[in-house]
């Protein structure tokens, strides 16, 4: 949560974001990069819609037999010479990972890009225990330098522009020649590469997430565009994979199916540049690979979602398409949400992870426009689940009093058609009078939220029902 923003202060965070032109300019790029990329990729693949059905079905099937597939996965990892650890929550996961690092005598760990380590707060935990985590994905590296958190699940530094990155590099890479040109993204990349190369070689442990866990083979799979993930997991002596339990799929074939959706939905690429399978530690005769291979399987609230109205959310493959297409995200960016995962998927997931009380606003800050669901490769009914959270809020009386009162008053009227007719007749007449010949009102009592930004078109005068009755119609 960048700058300590929380979900509880969402409106304030959003206000600050809307007053931050460089941020707005940076997130505006999502349209011509990620959104149009996805559109082109989906249009170019005739079976894209059928693939979405297939992807959904694979995940739904796996979730229905999750225990079975997780146990099968564990057996295969162990057969291949690896270790599997089960973590009930974030604290568990951190403790397990620290323990492995300490036993390996680690001082420095490299990390591949992973949202799950953000979810458990691994970096801060390792640092507090004397171990230096180094992010190796360019975007993650940039926000680590800036002391921020990712503002997007696949483009963690999407909120930063290249001038800001250049300034950060000059600040932190103190041996950098001041005359060195850092005007282009490629020169920035080269600079980061140079610094990271040395860190890769000196790391004792490499930590990655996983896009998939394959039950059939015990493999973990990551997809990246920079190859940093490969160096993270091949060079150090120990490789730790932290993955949540819903990442498992039955077979390699299933990975292939979902892979066809993942990059297309995320960036519009047919495939990410690197797709890496890890199965156990290095075997005799392998040219490279770690000596020890650990998989930490994290629950952190997920098993409680099974069988609930939020189970469908566990199909999520973290492609970010829902985020890219969300009009709210596109207005305020990711940090305003004050949660690890932003956008529609984040607003559905976060209350499960941190509790509904701490997540006020998230489910409500949506127009329910449905574009997220329409692009989600896993066909997750995100708006429906946002509405479920609103229902839970209402049931538990967490809905703000004013809104509750307004709703009750309106309900009372709407259930009494005659009274409703009278009230609306008076209201429409009054507003029309107030507007006079203007046709639109610049200010209306009790409607400040509307008229702060836009006029309120005036009613025509009589309500439809009165005009209809006047014509003697039924």
């Amino acid at each position: 949560m960048s700058g300590g923003l929380t979900s509880l202060s969402f409106p304030k965070n959003a206000h600050a974001a809307l007053a931050n032109p460089p941020l707005l300019k940076a997130i505006a790029h999502i349209e011509e990069t990620l959104v149009s990329g996805r559109r082109r990729a989906a249009e170019a693949l005739p079976e894209f819609e059928a693939l979405r059905d297939a992807g959904r079905d694979i995940k739904a099937h796996t979730l229905a037999h999750l225990d079975l597939y997780l146990e099968a996965f564990e057996r295969k990892v162990v057969e291949a010479g690896g270790f599997v650890h089960w973590a009930a929550d974030a604290a568990d996961a951190n403790r397990i990972i620290l323990d492995i690092c300490q036993k390996a005598g680690a001082r420095r760990v490299t990390k591949g890009k992973s949202m799950i380590t953000e979810e458990v707060g691994l970096n801060a935990y390792l640092q507090a225990n004397g171990i230096a985590p180094v992010e190796t994905d360019l975007g993650e590296y940039i926000i680590q330098l800036r002391g921020e958190t990712p503002s997007h699940i696949i483009a963690p530094a999407v909120h930063v522009n290249k001038e800001q990155v250049a300034a950060d590099f000059r600040r932190v890479h103190t041996d950098l020649d001041p005359k060195r040109n850092l005007d282009e993204p490629t020169s920035l990349l080269a600079e980061a590469r140079g610094v990271l190369r040395e860190r890769f070689l000196s790391a004792d442990v490499g930590i990655t997430g996983a896009n998939f866990l394959v039950a059939e083979t015990g493999s973990t799979v990551i997809v990246t565009n920079e190859g940093n993930g490969d160096l993270t997991q091949i060079l150090p002596k120990t490789h730790i994979v932290l993955a949540s339990i819903e990442k498992v799929v039955p077979t390699l074939e299933d990975v292939a199916t979902i892979m066809r959706l993942l990059a297309r939905s995320a960036t519009g690429q047919e495939m990410s540049v690197y797709t890496t399978f890890s199965t156990g530690p290095r075997r005799a005769g392998d040219p490279d690979g770690p000596e020890a291979f650990h998989v930490v399987l994290l629950d952190n609230g997920r098993s409680a979602m099974l069988g609930s109205e939020f189970e469908d959310m566990l199909r999520c493959i973290r492609c970010g398409a829902c985020i890219n297409h969300c009009p709210v995200y596109r207005s305020v960016g990711g940090h305003a949400y004050g949660s690890v995962y932003p956008g529609p998927m984040g607003s559905v997931l976060t209350p499960s992870l941190q509790g509904l009380e701490k997540s006020a606003h998230l489910a409500n800050a949506s127009t329910l426009c449905g574009r997220c669901e329409s692009v989600c490769p896993m066909r997750i009914p995100l708006p429906k689940m946002l509405r479920h959270w609103r229902e839970k809020e209402f049931e538990r009386h967490l809905t703000p009093k004013k809104a509750r009162f307004g709703l009750a008053a309106w309900r009372f009227l709407a259930a009494r058609p005659r009274l409703y007719g009278l009230a609306t007749r008076l209201g429409a007449w009054g507003l029309a009078r107030l507007a006079g010949r203007d046709g639109a009102l610049r200010q209306v009592p009790l409607a400040g939220g509307w008229t702060r930004w836009r006029d309120l078109p005036a009613p025509e005068g009589g309500t439809f029902r009165t005009e209809w009755a006047k014509r003697g119609r039924k």
């Binding site: 809307l18 127009t367 259930a415 046709g439 639109a440 439809f464």
Partner: protein, 255 residues
Amino acid sequence: MTTPKPRVALFVTCLVDFFRPTVGFSAVKLLEDAGCEVSVPAGQTCCGQPAYNSGDRAGARALAEQVIALFEGFDQVVVPSGSCAGMIKTHYPDLFSGEPNWRLRAEALADKTHELTSFLVDVLGVAPLPVTFEGTATYHDSCSGLRELGVKDQPRRLLSAVDGLTIKEMHDPEACCGFGGAFCVKYDEISNAIVDRKVADVRTTGAELLLAGDLGCLLNIAGKLKREGSSVEVRHVAEVLAGMTNGPAIGETRK
């Protein structure tokens, strides 16, 4: 032997009833021209969507029961709003998941409820009487109509038959306008940022008229255009199709 006229009930919607009766009368005209016998059951108020989207399931159910009882006796139910039609068609059955009796009634009503332009094109398959409207318009796809009901080509097909009218598409006609019911006042600043982008997209088309099939979006977009002092007019698609465009456009000065 002539087939009897279909008995169609119009669900006016609370916004049309309150803000823009012209849309209701336009819908009636279009339906009658298409050979329907139109009724407007007295006692209708709101479909219950505000309660449903605020998490108040019981409140939504109470209003849904009221609507079901009032409308189930008709052959077809037509709604000049994708949002309210979507509420009845896709969400009413969900509201009664634990009550088989009500659920059956909800499903029966859902089956015969239609958004106006979809009813004219997909169900009746008739062309409206010829009308003329000189000018260039752009069409905003309202979210619920588009994504819950698949309303996209129907209004464009009907508009393409209007004499003198040219349609110029926005870069992203399917982008939300930021209305979102209570969202637009609860998160007004974000809502404003979203409608800002919509209005900018409208402007780049150079169209002098913006059309849509949902009054919520229309009030929002019109309100923003007026505040900016724009001369772009805003109307419900039914008004143009029915040729009922003599009165002022939404939010426009009365003559």
